[in-house]
């Protein structure tokens, strides 16, 4: 986060070469096109230590990642990280030992969660190699971008 900006940080998590796993990255890129400066918008692979670093010092963090929970593709889950633990097995595509859910829980153990951390999970359908989003996920990405753009605009208006 840079000084002189509202304390809001957007983090898109995923792998753009794994089809719907790129949903979080797509959201971050589209938001950056709308807000080219003045707001911290990050793309992350999902490696836990890097995530903890990314949200350090931020007041309000909104993180978007693809999930596979069994819901219908394109479903948007909203998890308030401060309110409840991350559901186990939600963000499990990473073979890394330490990813989104672990980063949130480790930060909670260390009392390093940002004051507001909302995790949005976009239900994916296809996680095979490829760079296309499934139609339902594409739609969810658009909904997500619109929703977050409103929140960012409100934060910017409030700040200036």
């Amino acid at each position: 986060m840079t000084a002189g900006q509202p304390g809001i940080v957007i983090i898109g998590v995923g792998n753009e070469y794994r089809s719907d796993d790129g949903a979080g990255i797509a959201v971050a890129r589209r938001l950056r096109a709308i807000f080219p400066k003045g707001v911290t918008i990050l793309e992350e692979s999902g490696e836990g230590a890097a995530l903890m670093q990314a949200w350090q010092g931020a007041t309000c963090v909104m993180l978007v990642d693809a999930v596979r929970s069994g819901a219908s593709p394109g479903t948007i889950h909203r998890l308030d990280a401060r309110a409840a633990p991350m559901p186990a097995g939600f963000f499990h595509y990473s073979t890394h030992a330490f990813s989104v859910a672990e980063a949130v829980e480790l930060a909670r153990s260390l009392d390093q969660l940002p004051p507001h951390l909302i995790v949005y999970g976009i239900e994916g359908a296809n996680f095979a190699a490829g760079i296309e989003l499934s139609p339902a996920v594409e739609q969810a990405v658009e909904v997500m971008v619109e929703r977050l753009a409103q929140k960012i605009q409100a934060a910017v208006d409030n700040f200036t």
Binding site: S45, E47, A49, A50, M52, Q53, T95, H96, A97, F98, E102, E105, L106, R108, S109, L110, D111
Partner: protein, 429 residues
Amino acid sequence: MKSRTVRVDYLARVEGEGALLVKIKGEQVTDVQFKIFEPPRFFEAFLRGRKFYEAPDITARICGICPIAYQMSACHALEDACGIKITGPIRDLRRLIYCGEWIESHALHVYLLHAPDFLGYEDAIRMAKDHPDEVKRGLRLKKAGNEIVRLLGGREIHPINVRVGGFYKAPHKQDFSALAEELKWARDAALATVRWVASFAFPDFDRDYEFVALRHPDEYPFNEGRLVSNRGLDIAIRDYDQHFVEEHVAHSNALQSRLHERNSYFVGPLARYNLNFDKLSPMAQEAARSAGLGPVCRNPFQSIIVRSVEMVYACDEALRIIEHYEMPDPPAVKIEPRVGTGYGCTEAPRGICYHRYRIDDRGIILDCKIVPPTSQNQKTIEGDLRQFVQTRLALPKDKLQWQCEQAVRNYDPCISCATHFLKLQIESE
């Protein structure tokens, strides 16, 4: 006859996907299989037909934890093929970026993956509630290592600034000032890490291993040296294929390596330490001694201490290099390809990483071979478990399973690398 199975269907806290099966018949361990079912990744096949200078960036993608090892082994092998040897400040920068990788990889394993085993926690998240200061120290150490890789490599994961012949861009001396301050903190933190892990309780276990590592006349090994062992192996890197073989076994997608003449061997921090104790910096040697280690350590559970000693060394060495750094100009040696075969072997955090490339006169890769450290340790891991379980058959099943997982984690196995996930199953018939 009473038979049992100990089964871990998903071994956590390792990199990648795999499983472990231990079969026990009566009072005898009859079979141990370290299974790697992460799909094969065919890196060697898709390097064929690529230009020689693409190899460091392609092979970096084999691993998100140790990309530097792949980049370095690829560079050295291709420079060898082209008849070039890199010296001076570019060589120093390579050692420096390798220090960064050891620090970040070892800090992750010591603090977040292995320490919870010794302290009786299911994972680092639960451990952090009772040991917050230690976990914070581990995370900051990892970050210090990442910072070296970011500064020299352009970014922390899959760096983009390494090339055959050197670097695309070299940092100015003043770019290191903030990093040097953090590394002084990191060196103290690494010393504190050695003291912390030395206080853990270690199972009484050792075997008569053949340790294999690089050895260099002047320094603790990262990039160069001869391949040596405690049983008389002493060969040039280019003779690797004459002494080591890779075999496919039914239960693993990763090829298993063994020595032609003997059999399984042990690579990684313990092997490096046992074969190169005299080359550690005085501060690292002193840290090892005060932790109760002699110049040779055969208990793989104590590898967590050795990893911590190596963090001390890596911080110390990084500070030494930064202090004497003069910016290389140009940052890379120009390389003209020629027909030939080149060999490279460097010390990844988990042990030796061997690369061989054959190129044509236009620098096109015709054939290559990549042997990551975890595939070399597979047979040794199986051997450890066979002996370990045999003496602990009286343990309750859940405790036995826990200790088996801990024994596998002694090797910090990187399964993603080895196939270019882990489950444990102990079965009694």
